[in-house]
Amino acid sequence: MTALLEVRGLHKSFAEFTAIDGVDLALPGGGITAVIGPNGAGKTTFINLLTGKLAADAGSIRFGGAEITRLSASARVHAGMARTFQVTNVFPLLPVEQNVAVPVLARTRRSLEPRRRFDSMEDVREEVRGLLATVGLGERAASTAAVLSHGDRRLLEIALALASRPKLLLLDEPTAGMGAGERERMLERIRALAAQVTILLVEHDMEVVFGLASRIVVLHQGKLLADGSPQSIREDARVREIYLGEASVAPAPTTAAGAGAPLLEVEHLDAGYQASHVLHDVSFGVARGGVVALLGRNGVGKTTTLRSLAGLTPPWRGSRIRLQGEDIAGQPPERIAARGVSYVPDDRRIFPDLTAAENLRVPLLALKRGGWTREKIGALFPPLATLWERKGQHLSGGEQKMLAIARALMTAPSLLLLDEPSEGLSPLIVRILVEALAQIRKEGVTVLLADQNLMFARAVADRALVMERGRIVYAAERAQLLGDQSTLQRLLAV
């Protein structure tokens, strides 16, 4: 019997970056298979290749025995492959029932029918009703999709995918950004679905993965690292290492922080995007001169927390963010920057056409004040010292990361917000970074960083806060970070 899905030698690169590097995979059909891997492992690219959102550079994809490597996305849907997206992807201004009617009509080859009213097609209506009932949205049929709660919209997306009556359903982080109740509901739905359709799942939430999957595939740096039962994956040393980080980074000696009033106080921070409620009542403080790490897996709200602090994602009403005692919640980003908060996004956001030196000058010019010099930066990040005249787009990922941090330091901020500083970096660069952070705090800069890598946090932070699903669930002081890490490992590892 041929496999439902058979992938051979799949390969995809973007410019110089190889996202998927020769992956082979066969799914016999039935059950739930989970694809996991740390950030940047290539999971989403893999799904995009399977479903035709991206064209593969090499390799073949066979589905149900037929070659589909060159088919358009919609043709693959007709062949029986449906998917959901990492970021909720519905038709926001259409009512829920019309959302679902779109794929139903497409499947029954009536998308282009111009003469009949679609709302008078009884069979369509009935099927839409059935699908909405399946995902538990029967009550919301007439609502506009945009006003649904985040969890409901994710369910709607699943209904959209199911409407194509797929043989294979690909779910990209179906529970990302969900509250506990919503997540439970979603897990039940997925479990129930598994009886009818083969499911391929990409997920960060290990509770979800281990609660659902019968088979787990681990991707790392575009390659298939491990493939097996949940139990075998849990015990795989290589998998542990890529998730918790290299043990080789030694913890740096840190001075005790926290003298005087806290620099930053966050109280009841709620934030999100449209109807998606990401942060729930987040409260914490950062002492002056300290390094605090926000830990947590992908999609738990770390980035949103930092963006809210930087003013890029406005906090919702009732949130309080005090910097040196003054409320900055809801201020525009440039005002917050002027108050001494610098932000380094996880995707670096280097200005591609500007040279490294010019990138560094932007904040100096914008805020009309100096602080650090290029020499000081060069001492902090030696690899940058020879690259000043190179354009941002021609720097490697690690160089860009250093440059992004350097750029944030130029105006001598009082608070540095670092999103995923260690992500995707070589051990050498990580070591440079650890040393640099030690130096930075010596300069009196307070750091709040968000990372997935426990080892990195251990090396640099004197306090760690663990986030799960938009909430802070655990706080570890330096002693706990260095000492018993079992709780942290449970929260962060697979």
Binding site: A337, P352, D353, L365
Partner: protein, 284 residues
């Protein structure tokens, strides 16, 4: 035949000045300013008024564009900034309303008759190139166009303000997170763009008839140039303007039947092959 190209290039310089402002504004503000041709018209009228008062072409060249820059400030500060968050089509409609308003205001103020002060004596000569004669004014325009190109390049590449503009054009959100006050920057960029259009108009004053509605003939060509070169790319606007100038000059000689359509054929061809234009950034 080379001479014909030179003439085409000199014609292209007016287009370049208008297109440069249009492209700059689009690159930073993401607004397609339909009224940019009207700013060119205002440049010509203001320069003419300044000329009548001062009697000096050079003073007119200085004052006219500055007054247009002031109008640009009013447009951005008073109106455009209220619509940055609405759909592009409505922004286009807003700037189109300005086209209508400026046309009639100019007619109210100056009447519908043609105005055309004499070409300044210092520039009304000509130089002989082979068997052909090139007016000094055309050389002057070529020099001014090149100088503005060079000046803009220096301004954008070598000055702090230029750096901020480039950074904001590339990534508005990140620039703000680094402290760039974008709303003020938008105003200044619009003012600069308006000044460029005004300069184009002021330069055209002594050699082209000034009349209400004169901006409408240039705005669509400026759109073509900007789209051809790549939206938001100044280098693209420069090359695009030269290309249209040359196409026009040589098209007249070799394919006069197609003169009307050449610019559009070029635009359609480029868009089909490279939708983001010759020098534009490819959008994901």
């Amino acid at each position: 035949m080379l001479f014909q190209g030179l003439v085409g290039l000199s014609e292209a310089m007016y287009l370049w000045l208008v297109a440069a402002g249009l492209s700059l504004i689009f690159g930073v503000l993401r607004v397609l300013n339909f009224a940019h041709g009207s700013l060119y018209m205002l440049g010509a009228y203001f320069a003419w008024v300044a000329f009548r008062i001062t009697g000096s072409f050079w003073a007119a060249l200085l004052i006219g564009p500055l007054l247009v820059a002031a109008v640009g400030w009013g447009m951005e500060y008073g109106f455009l900034r209220r619509v940055y968050r609405v759909e592009v089509a409505f922004q286009l409609l807003l700037t189109f309303a300005f086209v209508l308003i400026f046309d009639d205001l100019v007619k109210l103020a100056f009447g519908p008759v043609y105005q055309s002060p004499p070409t300044p004596a210092a520039l009304s000569g000509a130089v002989r190139i082979g068997r052909s004669i090139l007016p000094t004014y055309h050389l002057f325009i070529l020099a001014v166009g090149a100088a503005v190109g060079l000046g803009l390049w220096i301004f954008l590449e070598k000055t702090g303000f230029g750096l901020i503009i480039r950074a904001t054009a590339a990534d508005r959100e990140m620039a703000r997170a680094l402290g760039v006050r974008s709303s003020r920057l938008f105003t200044w960029v619009f003012v600069l763009g308006a000044w460029l259009a005004g300069l184009g108009g002021a330069l055209s004053m002594p050699v082209r008839a000034i009349s209400p509605g004169m901006g409408e003939f240039i705005i669509i060509e400026a759109f073509v140039v900007v789209v051809l070169g790549g939206l938001g790319s100044l280098r693209g606007a420069f090359v695009g303007a030269l290309l249209i100038g040359l196409l026009h000059a040589y098209g007249l000689v070799f394919m006069p039947v197609f003169e009307l359509a050449l610019a559009y054929i070029a635009m359609a061809a480029v868009l089909i092959v490279r939708p983001w234009g010759l020098f534009g950034a490819r959008e994901a």
